[in-house]
């Protein structure tokens, strides 16, 4: 099934000419034109709401029927818009295929994955069910799944996220399409898995001459594997060109902003403090947090022991007053469990967390309230972290009057000062979370955490749900605040770039243990442990790092 490597077609494979899309009165795509040549990998970059997914779904005819599409889309000189249902069905999966951001929800939960890969071949190539099954098994092997014959019989819920995406890819390439549209295919995956999936896509492109349109918010990923990149914003292409040119010599101001906002491009050194050997402010000693395994009645009858899961296993760390410390790890590494242990939401099985030398586990009453005032946290999900029924101002003011630091009226006026401090216009104070943007919500969350004037601020993945440009702004805000308020920051993230540009020291977590620690710059440039090296190698850095520091 290996297609010809160098096709003789000279014209573009996909030709999008002046396409606009509107839903009712909202235009989500404005006069977009671009081409994809056979065998090339084109990157489409943009933040949420830029229309990058819409254009690709439009090209596949997958937009909901409420969408009005105008313009022209040609695939190998065949006009696509206005095709009938049957013509579309013959084209999709056969000549052009698509993979999606969240592989878990895009697989049918009731069918074996082998069958799901076989179906397009039965449909398009007229194979028999058993022939298609055999080919599906071989495809699974091609996309790098071990024991493919056994895995083909699995159901989606039995596979990991990375394996599900490989299954999606296997189904997509089963009929040897000419074009693969990949819509954020690695966003939901851990970095090390992301690196492997991207490697697979590159291989497919090289070996089969498969043209790929790769949609991503991550310029680093695109710069790594695409020959050309186009940048979209508000439904328009603001710039397109060779990958090198876009990264190194962006023409459009927005492209420049996007490039500069990429994690690791800027160093946020404001408020970094030299520590002078005093006793550490926050100490974690031999901390072990265990979640009991589930055991139902059948297990009890069969005398099966529950298997407890140690989310944290013997973790030691010490943080000095005024320091900014990063905690890095992939999902399941225990980094959020650590945060929850520090704010006393997870009880340690053994070990202790000490603030100023005294353990926090036994605190109660007045002392506990004192701890609450000293240690605060900002959460990951901008919308989920605010009570949907309270306005921004009420949310920020509540801790002030509940802790008796002011009456309700003056708490509100303090809250509006805090609102100003996180650079939100006063008018937004009356809004409820769903009327705010993600970045604005996160600013309210920061203001709420700072309302009690804490010493220690824990930030748990606070920018992971945000666009890169918003992320850069939030980091800048946080850097200013830590300088002004002499905050001790614990910054938790999956993104080594962000952590190393924002933090002085880094702890790398894996499976509940610390695998490496040290100065942020050292860990990023010369990692010692194998796992850290793999982590660093999976990062997609933009060529020619422009290092720039903002000193306070």
């Amino acid at each position: 099934m290996n297609g010809p490597v160098t096709p003789l077609v000279t014209g573009p494979l996909l030709d999008v000419i002046d396409v606009s899309v509107r839903f009712g009165n909202t235009r989500v795509l404005k006069n977009v034109s671009f081409q994809i040549m056979p065998g090339e990998i084109v990157g489409i970059a943009g933040e949420s709401g830029s229309g990058k997914s819409t254009i690709c779904r439009g090209a596949m005819g997958l937009l909901p029927s409420t969408a009005e599409v105008t313009g022209e889309v040609r695939f190998k000189d065949q006009a696509l818009l206005g095709l009938g249902e049957a013509d579309w069905a013959g084209l999709r999966g056969r000549d052009m295929a698509m993979i999606f951001q969240n592989p878990a929800s895009h697989l049918n939960p009731l069918q074996k994955v082998g069958k799901q890969i076989a179906q397009p071949m039965i449909r398009h190539l007229g194979l028999s069910a058993s022939e298609a099954w055999d080919k599906a098994v071989r495809l699974l092997e091609d996309v790098g799944i071990r024991e493919p014959a056994m895995r083909a019989k699995s159901y989606p819920h039995e596979l990991s996220g990375g394996m599900k995406q490989r299954v999606m890819i296997a189904a997509a390439i089963s009929c040897a399409p000419r074009l693969l549209i990949a819509d954020e295919p690695t966003t939901a995956l851990d970095v090390t898995v992301q690196a492997k999936i991207l490697e697979l896509l590159k291989d497919l492109n090289r070996q089969r001459g498969l043209a790929i349109a790769l949609i991503s918010h991550d310029l680093g990923v695109l710069a790594d594997i695409c020959s050309r990149i186009m940048v979209m914003r508000h439904g328009e292409i603001v710039e397109q060109g060779e990958a090198g040119q876009i990264i190194d010599a962006p023409q459009h101001p927005y492209t420049r902003l996007l490039v500069d906002s990429q994690p690791g491009r800027k160093q946020f050194k404001a408020g970094w403090k030299q520590t002078e050997g005093q006793a550490p402010l926050l100490q974690v000693e031999n901390l072990r947090v265990v979640f009991p395994g589930k055991r139902d009645i059948v297990d009890i009858l069969r005398k099966r022991k529950p298997t407890p899961f140690a989310a944290l296993d013997g973790v030691n760390l010490a943080i000095d007053a005024g320091e900014t410390v990063g905690i890095v790890g992939e999902s399941g590494s225990g980094k959020s469990t650590l945060a929850r242990a520090i704010i006393r939401q997870n009880r340690p099985a053994s070990g202790t967390v000490k603030l100023d030398g005294s353990p926090i586990e036994r605190l109660a009453g007045r002392d506990l309230l004192e701890l609450r005032r000293r240690v605060q946290m900002v959460f990951q999900n901008p919308y989920d972290s605010l009570n949907p029924r309270m306005t921004a101002l009420e949310t920020i003011a509540e801790p002030i009057w509940r802790h008796g630091m002011a009456d309700r009226r003056s708490a509100l006026s303090q809250a509006s000062k805090l609102l100003d401090m996180v650079e939100l216009p006063a008018a937004l104070g009356e809004r409820k979370p769903r009327q705010l943007s993600g970045g604005q919500c996160q600013r309210v969350g920061i203001a709420r955490a700072l309302a009690l004037q804490p010493q220690v601020l824990i930030a748990d993945e606070i920018t992971s749900a945000l666009d890169v440009t918003t992320q850069a702004q939030i980091l800048e805000l946080l850097a200013r605040l830590r300088r002004e308020r002499a905050l001790t920051l614990v910054y938790i993230s999956h993104d080594l770039f962000v952590v190393s540009s924002f933090c002085q020291r880094v702890y790398v977590f894996r499976s509940g243990r610390i695998v490496e620690q040290g100065a942020a710059a050292d860990v990023l440039t010369s990692p010692k442990e194998a796992y850290t090296r793999e982590l660093v190698a999976s990062l997609h850095r933009l060529p020619r790092q422009v290092r720039e520091s903002i000193e306070g």
């Binding site: 069905a89 013959g90 999709r92 999606f100 009731l110 159901y155 819920h157 059948v298």
Partner: protein
């Protein structure tokens, strides 16, 4: 296997709980249980005899042990009114009810599926709005009133159907029970349609449907192979609940149409204060519901691999 075992053990606990509740039910009766069983006009001697016979002078837990022991031997009580074991009574009255239940399901399920599909094919269309409206409206109609109206119109007025009884042959049954089954079905269809419609619409916009479309599946194939199997699951779970409602519905409908079934027996026994029959019937209805729910669970496990872990 594990799931089935767990459900079986759960089942045993629920059954034990059901026994306790039905046992306590009769003991909630205000006043002397012996007098209650014997009836208002019984002589003191009869009451004393009943107290002896049913062990009502024993402590409560001993009475329960006796009750539970009797249940194991298949003795679920004795009717005061009919002077017969409750088991025998149920054996006599159960057939019209079973027939009616099956009849209702046959009348309700096919149109429900058809209407739900018609509605979900184009959500928001006129047909969909109409079906949705009827769906909500149908639940607001009192079944007994509908029964009376239909028996007046089709039975008495037009003379198409008999308005009471059960008949002798199978065709007779069909004829006699048509109106009762129809009145119950009219009330059941909306519930089924609403659930299935919601599930269909939800699954039709699911990500895996978009993925199937992107792989070139036709709309017909997508609907039958992807959307429908996924949408059936939640409705299947609802079906267990519906059987419980169906039992309640048949009680009323049987009373309206004087069908000699368990519902009529239940209401008559309640009015005649024949508590052991009420107790036995409650037990039986509960066991039936639990059994149906169990079967539904097994069936969803057969369809859904995620439920098999």
């Amino acid at each position: 296997m594990h799931t089935v075992l767990r459900r079986l053990i759960q089942l045993i606990f629920v059954l034990a709980g059901i026994c306790i509740i039905t046992f306590l039910l009769v003991h909630m009766v205000p006043g002397d249980p012996a007098r209650v069983i014997a009836g208002d006009r019984a002589s003191p001697e009869t009451i004393e005899a009943i107290r002896q016979r049913f062990g009502l002078d024993q402590p409560l837990w001993q009475q329960f042990v006796t009750y539970a022991g009797n249940l194991f031997t298949g003795d679920i009580g004795q009717s005061m009114r009919y002077k017969r074991p409750v088991v025998a009574l149920i054996g006599q009255y159960v057939w019209p009810t079973l027939f009616l239940t099956g009849y209702v399901i046959c009348l309700a399920v096919p149109p429900s599926i058809a209407l739900a599909i018609a509605s979900a094919r184009r959500p928001g269309s006129l047909a969909d709005q109409l079906i949705r409206f009827i769906g909500i409206a149908g639940m607001a109609i009192p079944v007994f009133w509908l029964g009376i109206m239909m028996s007046r119109f089709f039975g008495v007025g037009l003379g198409w159907f008999p308005v009471s009884g059960y008949g002798k042959t199978f065709a007779d049954h069909l004829h006699h029970l048509f109106l009762p089954a129809l009145s119950t079905a009219i009330w059941m269809v909306p519930v089924l349609v609403q659930s299935l419609r919601a599930a269909l619409i939800e699954k039709a916009s699911a990500d895996f449907v978009v993925a199937a479309r992107a792989q070139g599946a036709g709309e017909r194939e997508i609907f039958w192979c992807t959307v429908l199997p996924n949408a059936i699951l939640p409705t299947l779970n609802l079906f267990g609940v519906l059987v419980a409602f169906l039992i309640g519905g048949t009680i009323i409908v049987e009373t309206v149409y004087a069908v000699p079934g368990l519902g009529t027996l239940m209401v008559n026994s309640l009015l005649a204060r024949d508590y052991q029959v009420v107790q036995g019937l409650t037990l039986m209805f509960a066991v039936t519901t639990v059994a149906v729910t169990f079967l539904v669970d097994l069936l969803s496990a057969a369809i859904d691999p995620r439920a098999r872990v």
